[in-house]
């Protein structure tokens, strides 16, 4: 059938004004989409699914630790569970959580683009994520690894459990992460709307850009390292095997060359989210825009030179340990710059204490607490006492769960109306937020104490005098679990029955609110021209732009 020109224009017009959720409702229209928003939503659903799985593993661990002796299941199952908890939470949740889900959805909207630079590569990255996930799941079902998520050699190349599929899964997931990062860097360089100079980029885009640099430069090194371990398991090549002249500490160097910067892959996007939310809910221009933006790049840069602080007790020279200790502390300076700027933004702002703001408060507290214990751990003498104890566990959970998950939840609530055009129940949001922040403290503050008393990480059994604190920690974890469950329930209900949201329910001046909520398939009728800074609350103009015909 041939359409007249007028007909096809009318059709195109109707399609352009349909929002992205209504533009095709079949399963294939989702699985075969090139739309960054749909890919973002699919990533969001996937990471939430794996967050639940990882969370169930965590609760299973905490249940065992109620008793000092053998309880519920045997030691090998315990080892497998903490390995799977780490692998799932890090590779399947934290690393893709904010960049691949929210980054995909809002970065093009924020820079006034119709899509990311390489839409097909973006979809490929989603399928690689699932390919990696399925390989890893096969490994889990097929016996699971008992090495811990760090896969330290020579144990990982000799243990009888099935490590190879999990290593291979992580390798494939690395590819997915590289493609996501590559896409964002190119998108930010080539698809910014007219008038959107680098010093007008929204702070979230700065966060994602810094993250992408790490994803591109660090992930390949993990890839080759995991590949070598896989080859060792299959072939006995001996590159990390001391019996064949190999050096297991070399593995640790290569592993942490990725895995320490990976910590910043997990936290930098969160810092970006907080920068956006602080402005939106204080209704104030960012205090020290340049400092917040450039400190992200600073963290990404310094993050590459800190890996040695994981090897303080691995036979590193005193000089190396001192150098890596000092370099690690530099991260604290950049982070502190951000914290002061966020607080400065709130100062004398018109604060709206909505759910995302509750998570901002939680984030700031967890980040500062986790960050300061991090600086303490970067001190060689203290680290020797705390190394491989629950103190370290509590420290990095403060950053990864405390800070990163708070930012993830802030993003989820802040952008829920943007993504789905629905309103979530504010009251329940605040209840869940209080429960989570309380539960989190109850879980991990006892672990700081346990670590300081000398309880080592990854042990199946512990002396009886540690039981009270362990029970407290498990109680906190249960509270935390309930908090997440409440969110899951009310968001699912809001998605189906929630009231329709306005286009910009927060009155935010973030650039992603330039379009409708939910946006149309091609985001903009006309590409906007940016004439203001992001979050400029001094004017009454709509978010930062004038539209030109």
């Amino acid at each position: 059938m041939r359409l007249s020109e007028a007909d096809s224009h009318a059709l195109a017009g109707a399609a352009a004004h349909r929002n992205y959720l209504e533009d095709g409702t079949t399963v294939m229209s989702w699985l075969n989409t090139r739309d960054h928003k749909r890919i973002g939503v699919m990533f969001l659903a996937s990471v939430i699914f794996f967050f639940l799985i990882g969370g169930i593993f965590a609760l299973a661990l905490r249940m065992k630790l109620l008793q000092p002796g053998p309880f519920l299941y045997d030691a090998l199952s315990y080892n497998r569970l903490f390995t799977l908890h780490g692998v799932v939470m890090i590779f399947l949740f934290l690393i893709p959580a904010i960049p691949a889900a929210f980054g995909n959805f809002v970065v093009p909207l924020m820079i006034g683009a119709r899509d990311v630079a390489f839409p097909r590569l973006n979809l490929a990255s989603f399928y690689m994520y699932w390919a990696g996930a399925l390989i890893a799941i096969y490994g889990m079902v097929h016996g699971g690894a008992d090495t811990g998520w760090t896969f330290y050699t020579p144990y990982s190349s000799t243990t009888p459990t099935d490590v190879a599929p999990i290593l291979l899964g992580a390798f494939v997931l690395g590819f997915s992460s590289i493609l996501t990062g590559l896409n964002f860097i190119v998108t930010t360089h080539t698809l910014r709307a007219p008038g959107l100079s680098w010093m007008r980029l929204p702070l979230f885009v700065w966060g994602i850009y810094a993250t992408s640099i790490i994803q591109i430069l660090a992930t390949p090194v993990l890839g080759i390292t995991l590949l070598i371990v896989t080859v060792e398991r299959i072939g006995g090549f001996g590159l990390f095997d001391p019996a064949r002249g190999g050096d297991p500490v070399l593995f640790q160097h290569m592993f942490w060359f990725y895995s320490h910067p990976a910590v910043y892959i997990m936290i930098l996007p969160g810092m970006g989210v907080i920068s956006e939310c602080v402005c939106a809910f204080s209704r104030k221009n960012p205090f020290g825009y340049k400092a917040i933006a450039l400190s992200s790049i600073g963290i990404a840069f310094v993050g590459f030179f800190t890996w040695g602080h994981h090897l303080f007790v691995a036979g590193q020279s005193t000089f190396n340990a001192g150098a890596f200790g000092i370099l690690s502390m530099l991260v604290g300076i950049f982070t502190a710059v951000k914290v002061f700027n966020w607080v400065g933004t709130m100062y004398r702002g018109a604060i709206a204490f909505k759910t995302p703001f509750a998570y901002i408060c939680g984030f700031l507290y967890f980040l500062v607490f986790g960050g300061m214990t991090g600086v303490a751990l970067a001190t060689t003498s203290l680290d020797i006492h705390w190394h491989d104890t629950y103190f370290v566990i509590a420290h990095f959970h403060f950053i990864m769960v405390g800070a990163s998950v708070m930012a993830f939840l802030a993003a989820l609530h802040y952008w829920f109306p943007k993504m789905f055009g629905k309103v979530y129940p504010e009251g329940w949001g605040l209840v869940a937020a209080s429960l989570i922040i309380l539960g989190f403290n109850a879980t991990f503050i006892p672990q700081f104490l346990l670590g300081n008393f000398g309880m080592p990480r990854r042990y199946y059994q512990y002396p009886e005098q540690f039981q009270a604190l362990n029970v407290a920690s498990t109680a906190g974890a249960t509270l935390l679990g309930f908090g997440f469950l409440i969110i899951l329930i009310y968001l699912a209900i809001a998605l189906k029955y929630g009231a329709k949201s306005e286009a910009n329910p927060w009155g935010s001046k973030g650039f992603e609110w330039m379009t409708d909520s939910p946006p149309t398939t091609h985001n903009f009728d006309q590409i906007p021209t940016i004439t203001q800074m992001p979050h400029d609350y001094r004017t009454h103009e709509p978010p930062g732009v004038t539209r030109v015909a």
Partner: protein, 220 residues
């Protein structure tokens, strides 16, 4: 809709220009940047092995030196010449595409792919030699030639590095094969030749990695 109609850019198939780019120049810039970033990840992938090489070279200097002497330097050198020449032919393919000499471009691509096959052939002869001498990695090492600790490690690194590089040669060949197919279809011209350019860039990287592998494994 035929590729020519309604295209904003003469001589450019319409479907190659993404709807989200403001101009073809922008898209070209994006594709180049994307490729360079991808090449950076490839360099870092190999960097892990180069780092391992450095560590063990310092650990076992004598074993590495002696094992290196037992590699077939003639074939190694021939392969270096083959790859450098193939980098030249792929560059010529880009040149001919830009000047609309499609046939010459296709010929150059075919020659490049043949060079790649030749490289793999020489490499296979070398590998067969190592297998005959049991000069193999790790626990399989049983060569009578060098019997000091560290020789097995040299062959571990040798096989990992040349093996990974070999996989990249195969990947590069496939990319160039795809580009050749597109060239024969007449998809590229002086107006649009990104496929040839990006395929060529990737091939240069494959060449470049070998240029570092050759002295490290064969010469020093």
């Amino acid at each position: 809709m035929s590729p020519e109609s309604a295209s904003t850019y003469p001589g450019v198939p319409e479907e190659v220009v993404g709807h989200h780019f403001s101009s073809l120049e922008r898209q070209t810039e994006a594709m180049r940047l994307g490729m360079w970033l991808f090449l950076a990840t490839e360099v870092l992938l190999f960097a892990g092995l180069f780092c391992g090489y450095t560590v063990y070279r310092f650990e076992f200097p004598l074993a590495f030196e002696q094992s290196s002497r037992h590699l077939n330097i003639t074939l190694g050198t021939l392969n270096t010449v083959v790859l450098i020449t193939s980098s030249f032919t792929v560059a010529m393919a880009i040149h001919y595409t830009r000047t609309n000499q499609r046939k010459m471009a296709a010929v150059c691509l075919v020659i490049t792919i043949l060079f790649a096959l030749l490289f793999l052939g020489f490499k296979a002869i070398e590998y067969a030699e190592h297998f005959r001498e049991h000069a193999l990695p790790g626990k399989y090492y049983a060569s009578a030639e060098v019997r000091i600790p560290g020789a097995a490690m040299f062959y571990t690194l040798y096989f990992l590095m040349t093996g990974l590089h070999g996989l990249h040669v195969i990947a590069g060949m496939s990319v160039l094969g795809f580009v050749l197919w597109r060239t024969l279809q007449g998809r590229y011209s002086s107006n649009y030749y990104m496929g040839v350019e990006l395929g060529g860039l990737y091939w240069h990287l494959v060449d470049l990695v070998w240029i570092f592998l050759y002295p490290l494994l064969y010469l020093i």
